[in-house]
Each structure stands twice: as C-alpha cells, then as structure tokens.
C-alpha cells in the first residue's frame, strides 16, 4: 500500500511518520512511504490541518496523532 504523511516537517509530522513505520513493521505489511511537504500538494487533499495520514489516497486522520491501535485498524 502507499502511505503518505502530509506535513510541513514539524515535530508532530515526524512523530506520526515514526509511529506509522513502527506499526507497519509490527504488522509486516508491504508499504511505500512518502512524506509530502509542499503546501499546494497538501492542500489538494480535503484537509485543513497537519499532520495528516493518507493511505492509498484516502485521508485517514488529520490534525492529530492517532494512537497505535487506531493505526493498526487502518493498516491491516
């Protein structure tokens, strides 16, 4: 699956990427990561706040860091 992290490179965005990578490793699923930092590309998604997590072009969460349980639900 294709996982995109949308965010301007702030601490929260990096934390979200780190958490997501951890969950992906736990679950052992195949995934490509992309960290989108350009504001116009971010704004192409229906979100107003970063960080946001996009899995296969579907926005899962924006504006907050989800817990690991939530992440597992989206990634498995």
């Amino acid at each position: 699956m294709l996982i995109k992290i949308l965010g301007s490179g702030c601490a929260k965005c990096n934390r979200l990427e780190q958490l997501t990578r951890e969950v992906v490793a736990e679950l052992g699923v195949e995934a490509t990561f992309e960290h989108v930092k350009e504001i116009d590309k971010i704004m192409a998604y229906p979100i107003m706040t970063t960080p946001a997590l996009v899995v296969d072009e579907e926005v899962k969460v924006s504006g907050r860091i989800p817990g690991k349980d939530e992440l597992r639900g989206w990634l498995s």
Binding site: K12, Y45, M48, T49
Partner: protein, 479 residues
C-alpha cells in the same frame, strides 16, 4: 572590565527576575494549557465554522478564535492559513486568522500580563482582535475582484463537516488549568492576604541573602528584582525538572515511564513552593501562606482526579505536547532574556526617550519599524518590551512595537507571499504597519487620559474613511 561585570550582572538580574516566582506561576501553567489546547481540542470543532458558505459575522470571529486556540504552534499556522484561504471562508478570514494568532496565543498573553502588566495584555488582545478583523475585511474588499475570479479548484468534500464538539471533560480540564494560571498570577486582594505565617530558624539566612544581593543587585529604578533565596531554590528545582523531564515527559508517548510521575510531582511541588512567600530575616526565614498558596494547592490537587478520567493516550499526548513547547521555546527564551539584560547596559535611556518617549506618530512609526526589522524568537519580544518600558518608552509606541514584531518577520512575509501571492502579501504588510501605528496611537492616547469614546469614534472614523475611499476608487475605476 567594569563594564563587562556590569553587563553580566545585568544579564543575570534579568534572568533572575525572569525565573522569579510570579513568572513561573504564569509560564508553567501556560505551557500546560498550550499543550492541552494542542492535544485535547479537536480542530474540527472550530474549522467547521470556516467553510466557504459561512456568513461573515461567523467566519471572522471563528478565524480569530482559531488563531488563539489552534495556532499555538507555528506548524499549524501555515496549513490552516492556506486552507482557510483556498478552500474555506476566503482571504479576509484567513488574514484575520494570521494576524490574531501570534498576538493572542495563551503563552504570549499570559507572559505579557505578568511581565508588563495586565493592561498591556488586555490592550494586546482587544486591539489585535479589532484590527485583525479590520485588516481582514479591508483585504477582502481591496482584492474582491481577483477573489471572485479565483475558483475553488481544491477538494473540499467533508473538510468543513460538523465534527464532534469539544467534550465536556476536556473543557472542565482546560478550565481548571486556566484557573490555575489566573490564581497564580492575578494580584487580587484575597489572593495576596497572608493567612498564616511561621519563622524557620536558620542562622545563615541573612548572610546567604547578602551574598545573593551582591551577585545580583536589586535595582528598583531599572526593574531588577534581585535574586531571593526562594528564587535560588526555584532555579534549582527547575534544573531538576529539566533533567527528569527529558525522559519522563519527552518520551511519554511511548507510555508512562518511571520518571513521568517524578517529573509531574516535581512540577507540582515547584508551583506550590513558588506560591509561598519566603523572606530572609535576621536568624531565620519567614514563610507566609497566602490565599494564592491555597488556591494553587487546591487546583493542582483537582487536576489529578480530572486527568484520570481521560484515555491514557490523550494524557500522553497532552504531556508530550507540553514538553515539546517547553523544549522549543524555553531555551531560546532564557538566552534571549539574558542577552536583553546584557544589552540594556549599553542603551542610554535618553536615546529611547528621545525617539519614543511620547505618544507621537513618529514615535509609533519607530516602534513599528523596530518590530519589522528585528526578528526575535517567540515570546522574547516581551522582555525586550519590558526593557524599553523601563528605559522610558511611552506605552503607546510600545504597543505599536508589540503588535508589529510577531506579525511581521521576514519569514512570515515569505510564507504569506508563497500562499497568497506577492501583491496581496505586501498589501498585508502595509496594512499591518499602518494599523499597528494606529493601535499604538490609540493605546497611548488612552494612557494619556483621552476618553475611551472619543478614541472609539476616532478609530471608527479612520477605518470608515479608508473603506469609503477604497469604495470610491473602485467605482471610478469601473466607470
């Protein structure tokens, strides 16, 4: 050599008064509130008022409150600004949001209130609110033609959907934290009244205090508060918190570890200790418990059962966000405060009084210009303003400076122009400079005793004049 010693002493004095009890009682809760706003307020609860169909009387105030509630961190400012501009309520509310955010976040406001006085904090928030919305309306008016052409090409489906509101327990929690901030800082009678006083016997008390006084002299004219024994203890406790906090709070998002409760207990103890009144007398220390000490104690005790009702993950996020703010802002602030103290030695009060000693247009422009060309990290504008105030700057130009400095840095101008284009960005800069000057003049006139009604009428008159002439220009261009 003497000059170097004097400069270092002035730097230390400035740090000591920064770490004094009343500043701690304001900044520590403010950091926790900032963390809670960031972790516990669902952003959707405010964003859904900012949709493209929202009427003006809702979108502008909503944009302003988004500025003070959501934008504590600069990393939310940029996407939110771009989002409001390109998908939501448009240029006007986006500009109001951008203007209001740095002036009215909880950290800036509470620190301003404690360091400069409550009237400056109130002036800052009221003037920023009025002029932020004013600038937003003006920008929307000036560019309304290009705004109409701009099509909503971006995806908006579901962005402004009505999300969940703010849960009640989150509101109560925030309320208690805010009460702690207010109880720790306001100078109300029942908070200052001594309730109970006791003397601890300690022969060396005056000797130690004398040493501290020699190291960091008290100078009332300059506003240097010196370093008390209590202050020294507080600094030691802060260092301890810093040591434990790195693991206890910085890594709390992996689960509570053994140092988390230690760090939290230390912070609670520091706050309660700071709320006591301790003075050195001959042969001992007088410890006085005031209404404030009790209020702080009660509120801190109330936080624990409230916090237990949250999900573990929410609490971890709260503490992690709080620590992130501390780590991001505190070190820069400490260095900034020290440097401000050092520089102060080299600035003659006559210079400041000559340029900005009275409330003239020129003085206010000077305040704005200083704010535009100097860039200081978040919150450092406050000790700088305090320095100017003690050097004899008039409150009017000071407010002009305080309005312009966080709004207009080179960095923010660049970000803005990348999102809304150069022409709009520079128009915005011009308007902010104009309105900051106006804000300074207004506040200065109020301090000098002009009646409030006259000022309100004056400001309304000027704004009306600008709007009216814009309208006229627009019509002649069409005709």
């Amino acid at each position: 050599m003497e000059l170097v010693t004097a400069a270092l002493q002035s730097g230390l004095a400035s740090l000591a008064s920064y770490l004094a009890a009343h500043v701690l009682l304001c900044l520590v809760p403010a950091f926790f509130i900032a963390g809670a706003l960031s972790a516990l307020v669902p952003q959707q609860s405010i964003i859904h008022y900012l949709g493209p169909d929202a009427p003006k009387y809702i979108s502008y105030p909503a944009a302003a409150s988004a500025g003070s509630l959501l934008a504590v961190c600069s990393c939310t400012v940029q996407p939110l600004f771009a989002g409001i501009y390109s998908k939501g309520a448009g240029l006007g509310p986006a500009v109001a949001f951008l203007f209001f955010a740095p002036a009215a976040n909880i950290l800036a406001l509470s620190y301003t209130g404690v360091a400069l006085g409550a009237e400056f904090a109130i002036a800052r928030i009221v003037l920023a609110l009025c002029f932020g919305i004013g600038i937003g309306l003006l920008m929307a008016l000036i560019f309304r033609r290009s705004e109409m052409v701009r099509t909503g090409a971006n995806a908006t489906n579901g962005v402004f959907a009505k999300g969940e509101g703010i849960p009640r327990q989150n509101l109560i929690f925030l309320g208690v934290l805010i009460a702690l901030l207010i109880g720790g800082t306001l100078k109300l009678d029942w908070l200052i009244t001594p309730l109970f006083s006791t003397t601890l016997h300690w022969d060396l008390a005056t000797t130690v205090q004398a040493v501290l006084d020699r190291l960091v002299p008290v100078n009332e004219i300059r506003g240097a508060e010196g370093l008390s024994l209590q202050g020294l203890m507080l600094i030691a406790m802060l260092l301890l918190i810093g040591g434990v906090g790195f693991r206890g709070l910085g890594q709390v998002d992996n689960g509570f570890n053994r140092q988390t409760p230690v760090a939290l207990a230390l912070i609670a103890a520091t706050l309660i200790f700071a709320a006591l009144d301790i003075r050195a007398i001959d042969g001992g220390l007088v410890v006085t418990i005031t209404g404030r000490s009790l209020a702080v104690l009660v509120l801190i005790t109330a936080i624990l059962p409230l916090a237990r009702r949250f999900d573990l993950w929410d609490m971890q996020q709260w503490l992690w966000e709080t620590w992130r703010f501390v780590r991001m802002i505190f070190p820069l602030l400490v260095v900034g405060v020290f440097l401000v103290g050092v520089i102060r030695i080299f600035i003659q009060p006559e210079w400041v009084q000559f340029i900005a000693g009275s409330n003239t247009v020129l003085a206010n422009l000077a305040g704005v210009a200083f704010g535009v060309f100097m860039y200081f990290p978040t919150l450092v504008e406050v000790p700088i303003a305090k320095m100017f105030l003690s050097l004899g700057m008039h409150p009017g130009p000071l407010i002009a400076y305080l309005m312009a400095d966080p709004e207009l840095s080179l960095q923010s101008i660049l970000i803005t122009s990348a999102i809304i284009g150069k022409l709009k960005a520079w128009t915005y800069v011009g308007l902010v400079a104009l309105f900051s000057t106006l804000a300074g003049l207004t506040y200065g006139a109020w301090v000098d005793g002009t009646s409030l009604w006259l000022l309100v009428m004056g400001v309304l008159g000027i704004v009306g004049l600008i709007v009216g002439s814009l309208h006229l220009i627009d019509r002649t261009r069409v005709a």
